[in-house]
C-alpha cells in the first residue's frame, strides 16, 4: 500500500517514517492539513507497529476526583466550580477511603486521582489522601495530581517543586498524570485559561518529576480555538522535553467537549479530527513510547479504530469518570475487562493488561 501513500503526496514522509527519521514541524502541519485520512493513519500505523508490535494495552484502574472546587475556572472546563456553586463538592480523606473500599475486592492496579486548584485545602490534606489510599491498598500505584496541581502544592507547602515531589513520593505518589497541559501556546492560555500554570512551567514540573524518577504522561486538549500550528508547536515542545529527560510514558490527545463550558457554542470534535490527532502525534512524537486513545473522550467505537491509527493503549476500566461527563460526554462511565478484551481482539490486536509503568500484568 506504500504507493497509495506516495500518491497522496507523502512519499518523503513515508521514507522518513520507514527510516525512523524525525519529522519536521512542517511535516506535522502537512499531516494535520491533509484530507487523506487513510494515508496519515497508515504512516502512524507503521510507527505504532514498530514501537509496540501488535500489542494493545489497557489497565484495570479507578478514577477518584477529590474535589471540583477550582480557582482557575478555565473556559474549556465543565468540571471546575466556584466554591459557592451548587455543583461544587469536596471529598474528605474519609470519603476517599470509602471510595477505595467500595472496590477493594476488584483487581485494581492503579488509582488515578486529580482535582481542581482548591483555594484553601491544606497541604496535609493531599499527603493524607495518598497515605489513606496506600493504607487500604498498599500495592496500588497512585497516579495523581497533574503538573498544575503539583505547582500549586509546591507553593502552598513552601517546599518548592523538588521538595514537594519528594515529599509526595514518600507519602505514596507513584507517577503523575498528563492533564493540565491543554495547549502550551501563550495565546491559547491567555484566551482560555489565563490563571492556569503557563505551558513552560508545566513542562518544568514534568521534567523535574522525571529527574526524580517519577514518570509522567502528557496530554493536549484539542478541538477548541487552537490552530494546527499551535498543535504541532505543542507536540514539538513535548518532544524536546522528552529528549532531555525521557520520562514521559504516554501522550494522550484529549478531545474538547463543549457542553456546560464557556465555549459551549463550539461543536464537538469529529471522528476524523480525533483520529488525526492520534495519528499525527504517533508520527511526530518519535521519542514517546505510547499513544493512548482514551475511550472516555472519543467513544469505544472510535478508540477501537484508533488502534489502527497510531494508538497502542485505550486506558482502562476507569469507572465513575466525572470530568468529561460533566462536559456532555455520551460515553459510558466504565468498561469491563471483557468489553476491553473484545474491543482489542476484534481490532486484530493482542490485549495486554498493564500496570501504570507499562509492565505486563497479563497477556490475553
Amino acid at each position: 500500500m506504500d504507493y497509495l501513500v506516495k500518491n497522496a503526496g507523502f512519499g518523503d514522509i513515508l521514507e522518513k517514517v520507514h527510516d525512523g527519521e524525525r519529522l519536521s514541524i512542517a511535516d506535522g502541519n502537512r499531516l494535520f492539513e491533509s484530507p487523506n485520512l487513510l494515508a496519515v493513519g497508515y504512516l502512524a500505523n507503521i510507527v505504532r507497529e514498530r514501537k509496540n508490535g501488535n500489542n494493545a494495552y489497557f489497565i484495570y484502574n479507578q478514577h477518584i476526583n477529590y474535589s471540583n472546587i477550582c480557582t482557575n475556572l478555565c473556559k474549556f472546563c465543565a468540571f471546575g466550580k466556584n466554591r459557592d456553586s451548587d455543583l461544587a463538592y469536596e471529598m474528605s480523606v474519609e470519603d476517599v477511603r470509602k471510595k477505595v473500599l467500595e472496590r477493594i475486592s476488584e483487581p485494581i492496579t492503579e488509582i488515578h486521582m486529580v482535582g481542581g486548584i482548591h483555594p484553601d485545602l491544606p497541604y496535609s490534606y493531599y499527603t493524607d489522601l495518598l497515605k489513606v489510599i496506600k493504607a487500604e491498598r498498599p500495592d496500588v500505584h497512585i497516579q495523581a495530581f497533574t503538573c498544575v496541581e503539583i505547582a500549586h502544592l509546591a507553593e502552598i507547602s513552601g517546599l518548592g517543586t523538588v521538595g514537594v515531589l519528594e515529599d509526595l513520593k514518600k507519602a505514596g505518589l507513584g507517577s503523575i498524570p498528563g492533564g493540565g497541559a491543554e495547549v502550551f501556546s501563550p495565546r491559547i492560555r491567555q484566551l482560555t485559561c489565563e490563571k492556569k500554570l503557563p505551558g513552560s512551567a508545566w513542562l518544568e514540573v514534568a521534567k523535574t518529576a522525571h529527574r526524580l524518577d517519577l514518570h509522567t504522561n502528557a496530554t493536549m486538549l484539542y478541538g477548541h480555538i487552537e490552530s494546527i500550528e499551535e498543535r504541532v508547536e505543542h507536540l514539538d515542545m513535548l518532544r524536546r522535553a522528552q529528549d532531555e529527560t525521557g520520562g514521559f510514558l504516554a501522550f494522550i490527545p484529549l478531545a474538547f467537549h463543549p457542553r456546560n463550558t464557556e465555549l459551549s457554542k463550539l461543536s464537538r470534535t469529529s471522528g476524523v479530527d480525533d483520529l488525526k490527532n492520534i495519528a499525527v502525534a504517533r508520527c511526530f512524537l518519535d521519542n514517546f513510547p505510547h499513544i493512548k486513545a482514551y475511550w472516555v473522550m472519543i467513544g469505544q467505537k472510535l478508540s477501537q479504530i484508533a488502534l489502527s491509527f497510531g494508538a497502542d493503549d485505550v486506558d482502562g476500566t476507569v469507572k465513575e469518570e466525572i470530568i468529561t461527563h460533566m462536559a456532555g460526554a455520551e460515553t459510558e462511565q466504565a468498561m469491563s475487562r471483557d468489553q476491553l478484551l473484545r474491543l482489542i481482539r476484534e481490532a486484530g490486536r493482542i490485549p495486554i493488561e498493564r500496570d501504570t509503568l507499562y509492565n505486563v500484568i497479563n497477556s490475553y
Binding site: 485520512l37 487513510l38 497508515y42 476524523v272 467513544g299 467505537k301 472510535l302 479504530i305 476484534e346 481490532a347
Partner: protein
C-alpha cells in the same frame, strides 16, 4: 502474500475477484488493505468529492406482524392489544411536516399484517400520492406477503402498487440472503429467492430499489459473500439498484440479545468489502444511525459516498423541526469537516438544488 498482491492488482484494474479471492481479501486484509482499495473504487465511481444525503421520514404504517423475526425489537404479534395501524390523518400530518422541512420522500414500511388486502395498501398510496411526495415503500417481505394474502403474483402486486403511486422500493428485509440463516433467524420471512424475485420484477417494471444487508449475527463470512454476490448478480441483470446499505445487527431487546454487538472495526471492514465486491452498485451508504456520527464520518474513507437519511423522528418534529434542522446541519458539517461537499439528493440520486 503474492496471492494477496494479485488480489490488490485485480481490484486496481477493476477486475472481479473469484469467491476464494474475495474471502482471502476480507480474512487476510487489514483495515488499510480494505480501506485503501474501497477508497480507490469510491473515487473511480465518484470522481467528485461529493457526499450525498436525503431528507426523508421513516413512516411505519403498522407494527403488527406475523413474522416474529428473532433479530427484531419492533414488532407486535397480532394478538397484542398494543399493535397499531396508522390513521390517514396521522399520515397526512407526518407528510406535511416532512415537506415543510424540505423532505423529498417518505420511507413507508410496516409489519406483515395478518389480513389487510392489497386494496388497503393501494388506498394508502393513492392518499399519500395527493401530497406529491416520493413514496419509497414496501420492502420485499411485505410485497411477498401482500401477494400471498391477496392470492396474486408478485409482478401483479408491484404493478398495482406502482399504479397506485409507489415510486421505489427499499432494500429492507434482505437480512442475509442465505436460506440457512433465514431458516434459523427469520423462518417466516420470504426466502432469499423470493427477495431477489421481488427486486427483479420491480426493476423490470422500471422501479429503482436499494439493497441492504444486516450482518453480525449468526451468519458466516461465506454467507455474507453469498449475499453480496446475489445482489451483484441481479444488478448485472437489471441495473435497478441505486445503493447498498450494510448495517450491523443491533441485539438489544431481540431474541438474539446474547450475541455481542458488531464492533466498528468489523463494520468498516464490511463496508469496504461491500464497496469492492459490489462493483456495479453506484452508491454505498454509511449507517450513522447504528454507528454514530464519528464512525459514520470515518466511513467516508472506507467506501461510503452517501450519508443516508436524516430520519426525521416524531418527537424531533414535534419540537418544531429545530432538532431536525440541526441534524441536517450536523450531517453537512461532518461531511465538510471530512473534506467533502455535502449534497442533498432524492431517492434516485438526483441532486436537490432548491435550498
Amino acid at each position: 502474500m503474492s496471492n494477496f498482491n494479485s488480489i490488490q492488482q485485480k481490484i486496481l484494474k477493476s477486475e472481479r475477484l473469484t469467491e476464494q479471492e474475495s474471502l482471502v481479501l476480507f480474512r487476510d486484509g487489514n483495515l488499510y488493505d480494505l480501506g485503501f482499495l474501497a477508497d480507490f473504487v469510491r473515487w473511480q465511481k465518484h470522481p467528485e468529492p461529493i457526499v450525498t444525503y436525503v431528507i426523508d421520514r421513516n413512516i411505519n404504517y403498522t407494527d403488527i406482524c406475523v413474522s416474529a423475526c428473532k433479530f427484531c425489537a419492533f414488532y407486535k404479534v397480532p394478538e397484542d392489544a398494543e399493535g397499531e395501524i396508522i390513521s390517514f390523518e396521522k399520515l397526512q400530518n407526518k407528510i406535511e411536516e416532512t415537506q415543510k422541512l424540505g423532505g423529498t420522500q417518505i420511507l413507508l414500511q410496516g409489519g406483515l399484517h395478518p389480513d389487510k388486502q392489497l386494496e388497503f395498501y393501494e388506498d394508502m398510496l393513492r392518499f399519500i400520492k395527493k401530497t406529491g411526495i416520493h413514496i419509497h415503500g414496501f420492502s420485499p417481505p411485505e410485497i411477498c406477503h401482500f401477494a400471498k394474502i391477496s392470492r396474486l403474483s408478485v409482478a401483479v402486486v408491484i404493478e398495482r402498487l406502482r399504479q397506485a403511486g409507489l415510486d421505489s422500493i427499499p432494500g429492507g428485509g434482505a437480512e442475509i440472503l442465505s436460506d440457512r440463516v433465514r431458516n434459523l433467524a427469520a423462518p417466516r420471512k420470504c426466502s432469499a429467492d423470493e427477495w431477489i424475485e421481488v427486486m427483479r420484477q420491480a426493476h423490470l417494471q422500471g422501479l429503482k430499489t436499494t439493497a441492504t444487508m444486516m450482518f453480525g449475527h449468526i451468519e458466516t463470512l461465506e454467507e455474507r459473500l453469498e449475499h453480496l454476490l446475489r445482489v451483484r448478480d441481479l444488478q448485472d441483470e437489471t441495473g435497478g439498484f441505486t445503493a447498498f446499505i450494510p448495517w450491523p445487527f443491533q441485539p438489544d431487546n431481540t431474541a438474539l440479545a446474547d450475541i455481542p454487538k458488531t464492533t466498528s472495526h468489523d463494520y468498516l471492514k464490511m463496508l469496504s468489502w461491500s464497496r469492492i465486491i459490489l462493483d456495479n452498485i453506484p452508491n454505498i451508504q454509511a449507517s450513522w444511525v447504528t454507528q454514530g456520527p464519528k464512525i459514520a464520518q470515518v466511513s467516508l474513507f472506507f467506501g461510503a459516498n452517501d450519508f443516508g437519511s436524516t430520519m426525521i423522528e416524531e418527537n424531533v418534529v414535534a419540537a418544531a423541526g429545530v432538532a431536525f434542522r440541526l441534524a441536517e446541519a450536523e450531517i453537512r458539517s461532518l461531511v465538510e469537516d471530512a473534506g467533502f461537499v455535502p449534497q442533498q439528493r432524492t431517492m434516485d440520486y438526483s441532486f436537490v438544488t432548491a435550498g
